[in-house]
Symmetry: C2
Subunit: 258 residues, 2 copies
């Protein structure tokens, strides 16, 4: 059952397509509707909560525990301690995507997002990825911005064209990539190797980190190589969406020339 | 005299720092406050209007004529047919900037914006420009997004580090560039020459157009050369901020390697 739009605080205007209340969320999950995540009031108990947890697990939808105030700020209808965000994207299995790319005879070029939260940046990254012939974006089920309508809009529709793999562990995803012969590279300001000194002609995946915190240390350790985007001006860094565009352009260019 | 913030419609939330009313605008212009532009009700007459026009001309501030409804939508105080947008950026003279770059012994690398309206994109472009060692951004006095606080924020402060030249004719600006031996290049989807086949090691300026309409035909004709960013995926185009980042990266890389 689809609920009509509620009045929301301007802060959450971008989070369209909220489903609030126990039964509506249960029905949406049962119907196989695309759900980005379910927010549960930390102390929620009673009818439906057990079923919501089970259905979410079964459908691979992340559940996040939040204070009641958070739920109140999202909607002004009776949410009964449960709010779900509809997703605008169908998630794919990583191994299946790898197989599909190999079957097409293409060289895998993937992007993994480790904590990019701004949905406009995610949209921009998806757009560049499609332009540069990348086949998939890998995201964790927590800690990245929602692939909601705003992200799809910012991607100019590219998020609906590229394969999106949502995984519950990025480290496990790196294992899967390694098992498939796909190398993993990270962008690091301190890396001595410059972007254009690295070879992107073999199967590879580029990890992009949060604008503020960068790539997490354990992710950096799991990577096969690191590079820095050279910089001429005395300035901090590129916007993460622009940086990803530059890296993917370099990869594409190497593949075109080689 | 600085006015306190007014309640604005959400559409104009980004347009902070509005000055409304004849005397406040006159005082701001007289005091040499940085003003992005003045909006005048098309039929505005009477006290102050003549002085506002004169002061704006003297201070090189563009005046735009708009219907009263537009002004009403920006503020709910008595605007008396006059609203001014404060600027967050000091504008520089193009020839002076060229001289300054030459005196520093640097090779000019400029970006010209022909109709980029999204302030976040303008901010992202400024950020990439500073990262890649570009020294200036050239904008027309009409038809680009305001260099307001949101643009500065999106640029992570880069807009305050780069020279911004606001000119009343982009064509005249191209003349100035040509007289100073600076070549002008445009990015065109149909151009047979690929981005990396063009040489950016000589003094040059890159023109970026509006995301929707692209670069205006007469601007394209005035340019010395054209290039396309290669694309592997079957997709329309990069976001304009990402495209500019890619072009500036290519220019910087050529200058680093050469």
């Amino acid at each position: 059952m689809e609920r009509k739009e509620f009045k929301k605080s301007p802060l959450y205007q971008s989070k369209k397509n909220i489903i609030a209340g126990r039964n509506p969320v249960i029905e949406a999950l049962r119907a196989g509707q695309l759900i980005d995540k379910v927010l549960l009031f930390t102390n929620a108990t009673g009818e439906g909560i057990f079923e919501i947890r089970n259905l979410a697990k079964e459908k691979n939808v992340p559940v996040q525990h939040v204070p009641n105030e958070k739920l109140n700020s999202l909607t002004n209808v009776q949410h009964q301690g449960v709010v779900a965000f509809k997703s605008s994207v169908v998630y794919q299995d990583l191994q299946q995507v790898v197989d599909w790319v190999n079957e097409k005879g293409e060289t895998p070029l993937f992007v993994m997002l480790d904590g990019v939260t701004d949905v406009r940046n995610i949209g921009g990254i998806a757009r560049s990825a499609v332009c540069c012939g990348a086949q998939a974006i890998i995201i964790p089920d927590k800690g990245v911005g929602a692939l909601n309508e705003e992200a799809v809009k910012s991607s100019a529709g590219a998020l609906e064209l590229i394969q999106v793999c949502r995984v519950n562990s990025l480290l496990k995803a790196i294992d899967t990539l390694h098992l498939n012969g796909i190398k993993v590279f990270t962008s690091e300001a301190q890396a001595p190797k410059k972007l254009f000194e690295l070879s992107f002609t073999e199967p590879c995946c580029i990890i992009m980190g949060d604008e503020g915190k960068g790539i997490q240390t354990y992710m950096n350790k799991a990577a096969d190589d690191h590079f820095s985007i050279p910089m001429k001006g005395a300035f901090d860094s590129f916007n993460v969406s622009v940086a990803t565009g530059i890296i993917l352009y370099e990869a594409m260019k190497q593949r075109i020339i080689s």
